[in-house]
């Protein structure tokens, strides 16, 4: 019993510590908050990531009346700027419609010669590491839908981290299945997010 008071004090201290920790965590999380405006950067001192799509009205693909087996090839350049070395992960948190399971998506990192306008893939050369993803659009959404599950790209040329000025061109090849059952389906609007965090 004599120890009950000190124990309560310590227990209280422990709770306060935990609360402080949580509060501190929340504060730290605020430093890592995201922006969803395409092309905008959130350079909280040391990390910034941008792309060349020119804004939210310029999707990689907006394909209608696709016939079985039809698809498109599009490229987007992602640039990393910041004083800290970082990691970049790719994900989509959008709802994917019924066509998602019959839309094959291949994402290949690489480089691009010249300065072709978005979303041209002219002059694209894939990195030696091959595809970053090859599966269905729905499968991508299931597997990679937030930072924690995001598809990590180690950096340009199979590097181990992204450093200031690094760029990677991502080639998207999206093709609907060559099958009668794809007709009259859609995927709905969806976004792809590249998120960079310092290492």
């Amino acid at each position: 019993m004599r120890s009950s008071t000190p124990r309560k004090v310590l227990a209280t201290l422990l709770v306060l510590t935990l609360m402080g920790a949580v509060t501190g965590g929340a504060t730290l999380s605020a430093l890592a908050s995201e922006t969803e405006n395409a092309g905008n950067t959130f350079a909280a001192g040391s990390v910034a990531i941008t792309d060349n799509d020119g804004g939210p009205s310029n999707p990689l693909y907006n394909l209608s009346a696709l016939e079985p087996g039809q698809g498109a090839e599009r490229c987007v350049k992602v640039t990393y700027n910041g004083t800290l070395n970082g990691t970049v992960r790719l994900y989509t948190d959008s709802t994917i419609g019924s066509l998602g399971t019959q839309a094959n998506l291949t994402i290949t990192p690489g480089t691009q010669s010249g300065s072709p306008a978005f979303p041209s893939c002219a002059g694209f050369t894939p990195d030696s590491g091959g595809n970053l993803f090859n599966g269905t659009l729905a499968g991508f959404r299931t597997a990679h839908n937030n930072w924690a599950t995001g598809l990590a790209d180690a950096g340009p040329g199979n590097a181990t981290s992204w450093t200031a000025g690094n760029t990677v061109v991502y080639r998207y090849r999206i093709t609907v299945a060559d099958d009668d059952t794809v007709v009259n389906k859609s995927s709905g609007a969806h976004r792809f997010v590249w998120e960079g965090q310092n290492q």
């Binding site: 120890s3 124990r7 310590l10 227990a11 201290l13 510590t17 935990l18 920790a21 730290l28 999380s29 430093l31 890592a32 995201e34 922006t35 969803e36 395409a38 909280a44 040391s46 990390v47 990531i49 792309d51 939210p56 009205s57 999707p59 907006n62 394909l63 209608s64 009346a65 696709l66 016939e67 079985p68 087996g69 039809q70 698809g71 498109a72 090839e73 910041g82 066509l99 002219a122 002059g123 659009l137 090849r173 093709t175 060559d178 099958d179 009668d180 794809v182 009259n184 389906k185 859609s186 995927s187 609007a189 969806h190 976004r191 792809f192 997010v193 998120e195 960079g196 965090q197 310092n198």
Partner: protein
């Protein structure tokens, strides 16, 4: 737990949380691409069936090869140093066009296109003993591939009624003019063997057809020219351009695994030729259309979504623009293509015919055993009329190609006859020069065979229209009131060689 241990735990936790806080201090930034969407067509589209294959030559005449459908175009290239050859459904008799060189239609190459495939003769271009040959066969399809023929007039002109805006057109002269082509990414029209293009060949690809200039390759007066027009069909055919790098492994995206592709550098300064690869050819191989053997550094592979190129300057000159035409193999109906359950060709005989005589304008010749088509001075022209009961369109099918065939008993070289849809109804037993109906403004032309035989007109668009209003065809000389050139055709009353209409459904 003792107070001391609790205190220690709290301190540790504080330290730990602080440490974790340092780890959590991940600065973050995002960028995103929004608004991506996909939607498929509301119904399955029609498509042109394509098949490829290979065989070994044995110099045996009249060899038949099976294709899963009635081909309307067949291209063959051997591994020997012989030119590639092409035959279209519009070519009559034993004749095919060497695709390189100044060579007229030639016998014993691709002798015929049949309902079940094609037949080759003994020409070394297609059947030398022990030589490997590869072929690609196309089926005409509304909206995907069309073909026809026209008679040159020496003046720049346009052709319409193709039914789509072509992305690729071949023109194949029956005479010694060069086989030529034009793709949508090209600023001029090239032959298949080396040249720098010619602006007076296929001068443009238009909204519903194409235009030709005055080059002898496309428009010598009185000469018969065969044409093939292809449309880009997503997932099935691709007509695009790509930039060369000069490095092996360059790829061009097609969106499907091609079965057949043609490439060439779009160079109007330095002569370049076209190269082709058929997927049945040996791995890594491709071929010119010219009399040359295999190349191993031009079109080197077909991958699942792309064509791969080597370092050959024709296919991959650093900094140069190249054109690519690629087709996916699709030998079967349905499965993402047409919903036509029973594709094929049906032939019907005329159910009404007759001829009218300007010199005897009130006379009726509906019961005659011949049909007379004459260009003659002194108001003495004659014209033939013929009508068919159209075959029922199979469920889910459309007219892919149609050919009018009349047996010319007395062909006259140098004349051009046209077949035009008739605008109003007529009766076999009463039609005469005076009451003959007018015809459509557009017509299809044909030239008489060298000897007695069936004369043919490509009448695809006309027959499509006849499924709405069917008044048959009028056959007349394109230049009437000239000389005295009577040609007689067997009528439905002749008992043999009846007027025919062949309709291919797909």
């Amino acid at each position: 737990m003792t107070p001391r241990r609790l205190l220690l735990a709290a301190v540790c936790l504080i330290v730990g949380v602080t440490g974790a806080g340092a780890t959590w201090a991940a600065f973050s930034s995002t960028t995103e691409n929004t608004g991506n969407s996909l939607a498929t067509s509301a119904a399955t589209p029609a498509h042109a069936r394509i098949a490829t294959g290979t065989y070994t030559g044995n110099n045996t005449d009249n060899r038949d090869f099976a294709v899963a459908f009635q081909p309307h175009v067949v291209i063959i290239k051997g591994t020997n140093t012989q030119t590639g050859s092409v035959r279209t459904f519009t070519m009559s008799g034993d004749a095919a066009k060497p695709m390189a060189g100044a060579t007229a239609l030639t016998a014993n190459i691709i002798q015929s296109l049949t309902t079940t495939g094609f037949q080759v003769g003994t020409n070394a271009r297609v059947n030398a003993t022990g030589v490997r040959y590869d072929w690609v066969a196309f089926e005409s399809s509304q909206g995907a591939m069309q073909m026809g023929n026209y008679i040159g007039n020496g003046a720049a002109r346009s052709f319409t009624g193709v039914g789509f805006s072509p992305e690729y057109v071949m023109v194949l002269p029956e005479g010694t003019g060069r086989a030529v082509s034009r793709a949508s990414g090209q600023g001029t029209s090239f032959q298949f063997d080396a040249d720098t293009g010619n602006a007076a060949r296929v001068t443009s690809l238009d909204a519903d057809g194409f235009s030709v200039g005055t080059s002898a390759d496309v428009n010598t007066s009185g000469q018969n020219y065969h044409w093939i027009a292809w449309n880009r069909r997503g997932g099935l055919s691709e007509m695009t351009t790509y930039n060369g790098t000069g490095s092996a492994g360059l790829t061009a995206y097609t969106g499907f695994q091609p079965a057949y592709a043609i490439t060439r550098r779009n160079d109007t300064t330095t002569a370049s030729e076209a190269h082709q690869r058929i997927d049945s050819q040996a791995a890594g191989d491709s071929y010119p259309f010219a009399a040359t053997g295999a190349l191993t550094n031009s079109i080197t592979a077909f991958n699942s979504l792309e064509v791969v190129f080597g370092t050959n300057a024709v296919a991959n000159t650093n900094g140069a623009t190249h054109s690519l035409v690629a087709f996916k193999s699709r030998p079967y109906p349905g499965g993402g293509g047409s919903s036509c359950a029973t594709p094929g060709t049906q032939t019907v005989n005329a159910n009404a015919d007759g001829w009218v005589d300007q010199a005897s304008p009130g006379s009726n010749a509906g019961g005659d055993s011949v049909l007379k088509v004459t260009s003659k001075t002194g108001n003495a022209n004659t014209r033939a009329f013929v009508r068919f009961t159209l075959p029922a369109t199979p469920a889910g099918c459309s007219v892919a190609f149609a050919k009018l065939r009349l047996y010319n008993k007395s062909p006259i070289a140098g004349r051009t006859l046209e077949a035009a849809s008739v605008n109003a109804a007529w009766v076999e037993g009463t039609i005469n020069w005076t009451n003959q109906p007018a015809v459509a403004a557009t017509s299809q032309t044909g030239v008489p065979p060298a000897a007695a035989g069936f004369m043919e007109w490509s009448v695809t668009n006309e027959v499509r229209g006849h499924y709405t209003t069917n008044n048959g065809f009028r056959i007349s000389d394109t230049v009437e009131s000239q000389g005295s050139t009577e040609q007689q055709f067997d009528s439905k009353e002749s008992g043999a060689n009846l007027p025919q209409l062949q309709v291919t459904f797909q």
